[in-house]
Amino acid sequence: MKRELLAAAFLLGTLSITAAAEDAELKPFERGSWQQIVHSHAGRPTLVHFWGVTCGPCKVELPQLGQFMKDHPGIDVVTISADLVPNLPDATRSMLQKAGLSPAENWMFSDGFADRLRFEIDPAWQGDIPRTMLIARSGAVTTIEGSAEMPELDKWAQGQAATTGSRQ
């Protein structure tokens, strides 16, 4: 057991140097992870972004979301790398870091049975990325297929901020 842990620690050390420097964590997204995310952000406006390292439009959108996170500190930002396996943790972290998304809550599909993971999130989703889910304070979900329009996201975020105001 000790040897296994040492081996894992060695791998962690070699693979996540960047991550350590940025304090970024890449959580394994598995069965049940979706419910975990939904519960842990319940009552808070949350943007969940699905993307992947090989997805062209994602490369354009990711830095825009990094800026969105800076502009809207009141919105929880969650990213989920949903490329089919093998997902590449190094490439994933590197792209998140360059996009300014290291401080976000970052997950990566880590079950080879990606169909099942997607089904838990939305049975109608066939795996096209990018995809963004806006979860309002009320729990209402708006799904944006493909690249999101940033003004649209800003408007939603401002609307959520206004909701806070009315409740206070």
Partner: protein
């Protein structure tokens, strides 16, 4: 080339996660995160398997496993296989995209042509590599790029024309370079083609069929009765609408007009990773099955064209909408049309089948013919002169090659 191969990446990732989650993950199978059952190059460890029958009834498979491409054949309809021949010699970062797979074609003389793509850099730019065997699959020539151009290429499809010419089509991003130089945006990728007169050793210069097609979906390729290539592909129509289109070649070197298969109105700036399937029956009817999530319709659909792809029938919905139907494959076999697709109920993936005896005018009800409870490759259909077979790689149950019996 990447320093971390996919399989190693998956294993390492699992180890890292095991550490993060401490004891809870210590028991986790390190292959849990992979779509393959194991890491060797054998068929059992494959993530993608593509079948084809040779003219003598021999079944040929090409597969991706352990980071390598291998080929084997079977003389008894998949019950036993020859010793595999490994086609790749070095560790390449094989294209593991959901719609990517190695392709194989066999001509009348038994010559074998292969094409597959790799990620050739850290930005995941693709490159299509080809090879061929002139000794009945005993050995394969060194790999050669299909084109000298270095812009990203993926999703090659190949077929032998009746005269032994290899026809190849693929998606290629070369035209984004001049567009960018002129300060213009370039969406998607170009649909390109080339031919080989020497069995797939060398290919002609790449020629454009259509610019701005969807860059992340496989192509549907078939030859019509006259041996002319027909390609169905996800196009990018005006306004970023990623609906399907078809092109019929006038001759092997001259693409015809591009026609629309259906108006699904799927406007999306994304990678659907979900390409179409095409088969042409002896009557000349085109049969197309595809996935869309458009404003006009959502799900899997089938349509046919009896006028060489100029117009198509109204799209017929396929499968149970609440079971996430996906990955349709249609084939015109010796006993009529057959179509398979995947359905998923949250735990189990099932392969559903429906058949048509009237060239696609009407279809049978659907029935399940196979299932698995872990990840699986797309269900593929292949036929010899007698019947149609399902070819399906599954992680939990291995490779399945089963004859499809007649009407349900």
């Amino acid at each position: 080339m990447r320093d971390v191969r996919p399989v190693l990446g998956a294993a390492a990732m699992a180890a890292v996660f095991a550490l993060w989650h401490g004891g809870a993950f210590a028991q986790m199978n390190h292959q849990h995160a992979s779509e393959a059952a194991c890491e060797e190059t054998v068929l059992r460890c494959a993530s993608k398997v593509t079948p084809a029958f040779g003219p003598d009834g021999t079944l040929w498979l090409v597969w991706m496993a352990g980071g390598q491409i291998s080929v084997a054949s079977s003389k008894d309809d998949g019950k036993t296989f020859s010793v595999p021949v490994q086609v790749t010699r070095e560790n390449l970062n094989l294209d593991w995209g959901p719609d990517a797979r190695p392709k194989i074609a066999i001509d009348r003389k038994g010559r074998i042509a292969l094409a597959f793509s790799i990620f050739r850099d850290k930005a995941f730019n693709g490159q299509v590599l080809t090879t061929q065997s002139n000794d009945g699959g005993k050995s394969f020539a060194p790999l050669r790029p299909i084109t000298s151009n270095n812009e990203s290429q993926r999703f090659a499809a190949i077929a032998f024309e009746p005269d032994g010419t290899v026809f190849a089509a693929w998606l290629d991003k070369r035209n984004r370079v001049p567009a960018r130089q002129n300060g213009k945006p370039y969406d998607g990728a170009g649909l390109f083609f080339a031919t080989s007169k020497d069995g797939g050793s060398t290919y002609s210069d790449a020629q454009l069929v259509a610019d701005n097609t969807c860059e992340c979906c496989r192509l549907g390729l078939a030859l019509d009765g006259a041996g002319r290539p027909v390609i169905v592909f996800r196009n990018i129509f005006e306004g970023g609408v990623r609906d399907h289109a078809v092109v019929t070649f006038k001759d092997p070197a001259l693409p015809g007009e591009v026609h629309r298969v259906s108006r699904d109105d799927w406007q999306i700036a994304a990678c659907p990773h979900h390409g179409p399937s095409l088969s042409i029956s002896p009557s000349g009817t085109y049969h197309v099955a595809w996935y869309t999530n458009g404003r006009a319709r959502k799900g899997l659909f089938y349509a046919r064209s009896t006028d060489g792809g100029k117009t198509f029938s109204n799209p017929l919905p396929i499968g149970e909408p609440n079971r996430s139907p996906s990955r349709p494959q249609v084939i015109a076999g010796p006993n009529g049309l057959m179509m398979v697709w995947k359905e998923f109920d949250g735990e189990k993936t099932e392969i559903k089948l429906m058949t048509s005896q009237d060239d696609g005018a009407s279809w049978s009800t659907s029935r399940g013919i196979a299932s698995t409870t872990d990840s699986s490759d797309h269900p593929l259909l292949v036929s010899d002169s007698r019947r149609v077979y399902l070819s399906w790689m599954t992680k939990a149950d291995g490779y399945r090659f089963q004859p499809i019996e007649g009407e349900p």
